[in-house]
Amino acid sequence: MELTGAEIVVRCLKEEGVEYVFGYPGGAILHVYDALYNQDDVKHILVRHEQAAAHAADGYARASGKPGVVLVTSGPGVTNAVTGIATAYMDSIPMVVLSGQVPTKLIGNDAFQEVDAVGITRPCVKHNFLVKDVIQLAETIKKAFFIATTGRPGPVLVDLPKDVTAAKTEFTYPRKIKMRSYNPTVKGHTGQIRKAVELIAAARRPMIYTGGGVILGDGSRELVELTRLLGYPITNTLMGLGAYPATDPQFVGMLGMHGTYEANMAMHDCDVLVGIGVRFDDRVTGALDKFCPLAKVIHIDIDPSSISKNVRVDVPIVGSVGSVLRAMITMIREEKFQPDAEALAAWWRQIEQWRAIESLKYNPSTEIIKPQFVIEQLYQVTAGQAIITSDVGQHQMWAAQHYHFDRPRQWINSGGLGTMGFGLPAAMGAKLAFPEQDVACVTGEGSIQMMLQELSTIKQYNTPIKIVNLNNRYLGMVRQWQEFFYEKRYSMTYMDALPDFVKLADAYGHVGMRIDRPADVEGALREAFALKDRTVFLDFITDQEENVFPMIPAGGGQNEMLLAGKDKMVSTHEEGMILV
């Protein structure tokens, strides 16, 4: 039987096992919406802004490991989604975006609601397609899912002209797809793995540094096994938190700009660095010329272009993290590689000294709510089990520092693009993936207002989440930089005329709470999480000028950390001033 292009789209989604599509209708995509109407295999979530569709699909993907699917119309529909697509691209999140397009005959004519979607998204997708003939539709969608979910994952956009979704053809969905130009390497090179293992075994001051790639590649189990087998210290990037249990003593905390003192010092002094599923991002390395000056570097990654991009690598291994780590474990076991116990003990003694500095400590208060305290209480009240999404700013760093993530896919944030507004729609996506789990969005009064309208979507689809708003009446992270680097000239960072979030929550049909005393923090959180089937907006009035510590100022080396209380931040290096 012949199907229309629109029906084929829906059938393809079904074949791919897609549970949810996040989208917003409009003229060019109407045929597809019509095909969605009389079926219930694929559920559609109607967001209130296309950016939220992409973030929600992204949150769903990060929580579940399955690709997120977005459906938008042409023109403003797809341009609105671009920020969400770019966010997913920077963090390598598998996503398929289906966008409506004007009919093929009108393409290039400046038709109503026409934009060059393929051109606009090209720099922020893994790949994209314009389908010009319904005959190619099913295969193109198959390719889109294949490309989005394999190798280093990423968003793929398929642009669908309206006439293509109307045209008819026989539907067959290809079982398998082979592309001569796309064949990601999975298995690591055995010779390279051997070199790495020898280097690891000979290390005296080893350091394991892992990132989002371990989570994306489902390599957490292997990572834990290898790390425990070796007894080496391990640090995670902001994107990699949860891949190794944060409550394990071998975990020395997050590294980088706002990482722990022990993690950054150990990075700086290590002699063998094992980078796994990381990309040596500038938030992690600080000044490149001061990065791990003594270390031989091993780098395992699925993307060859990540290797030696920022930092010269001595032993590169291209392959999927899980399979490479498995091969390493087997080799270490079979050949009984033994680390130097004495050197390792001395190294741990040094690390414990750094750890004793307690770089995440802050000044507690009984008068005013400290933002760190809220996160600590959130951790306690949820027994460390909740899925936490965050927006971007100080609250994001405090959540990363003070909520100890013990499992992968528990911590969901926009690390690469740093997109304010990500947290709320991402929480909704995560909740849809795991309806039985507690999901909290840690946010600030700045970020939350960028996607506030999604409170309505959350109501419509009954995805109860808890919003933990650390309300400091400032664009805190920017204010912190202005305090340190611009002599407290708080240019445009004070948020006046904030809405009454309690009333606002109520207006959207949710529960609102305003908490301004430290003594009430725990009780409010308990009450909120007890309301299982309600979304609760917790507006915590926090210490206005609290800063995120420790900190490596832009341009600084890993051993040039500024600690809370001890160091007064003056100006950073001149070269640092031009960095962000």
């Binding site: 090209r122 592309m179 130009s181 060859p304 290797i307 030696s308 991009k309």
Partner: protein
Amino acid sequence: MNNTRHIISILLENEAGALSRVANLFSARGFNIECLTVAPTEDASLSRLTLVTTGNEDIIEQIVKQLNKLIDVVKLIDLTEGPHIERELMLIKVKATGEQRAEMQRLTDIFRGRVIDVTDSTFTIELTGTSDKLDGFIGAVHSDNILEVVRSGVTGIARGQKSLHV
């Protein structure tokens, strides 16, 4: 690290937008691109793209990796890594009156070019060779006498049995 000139030869899926992906990559990542040529091959589904770029070892490594990462890139080689033949075609229109005519003809012969169009005051000369050789010819003609220069951009192929194919 020294900057060196590289000729990268690519087999590209003959898809709409494939060329812009390559061009986009160079502008987005700030890589230098000196020249770019594209043409169909004997296989209708593939185009052959040759590009010339300069950079140090690290940059060239990144360029090659990033190009390989593009889904439309089927295969590529850096021709400058081995023995290879480089050719570029130039059409150059020069003033040619009086004594200049014999002089221009002699110069063309030295460079093994051909005069392919003649008027009472101009010659149009065709010349093939490496970019260096074409530069050499331009250098040998007084700039006042050059009316127009058209160059095809570099193409190249590996010497010997090595070949780039799918």
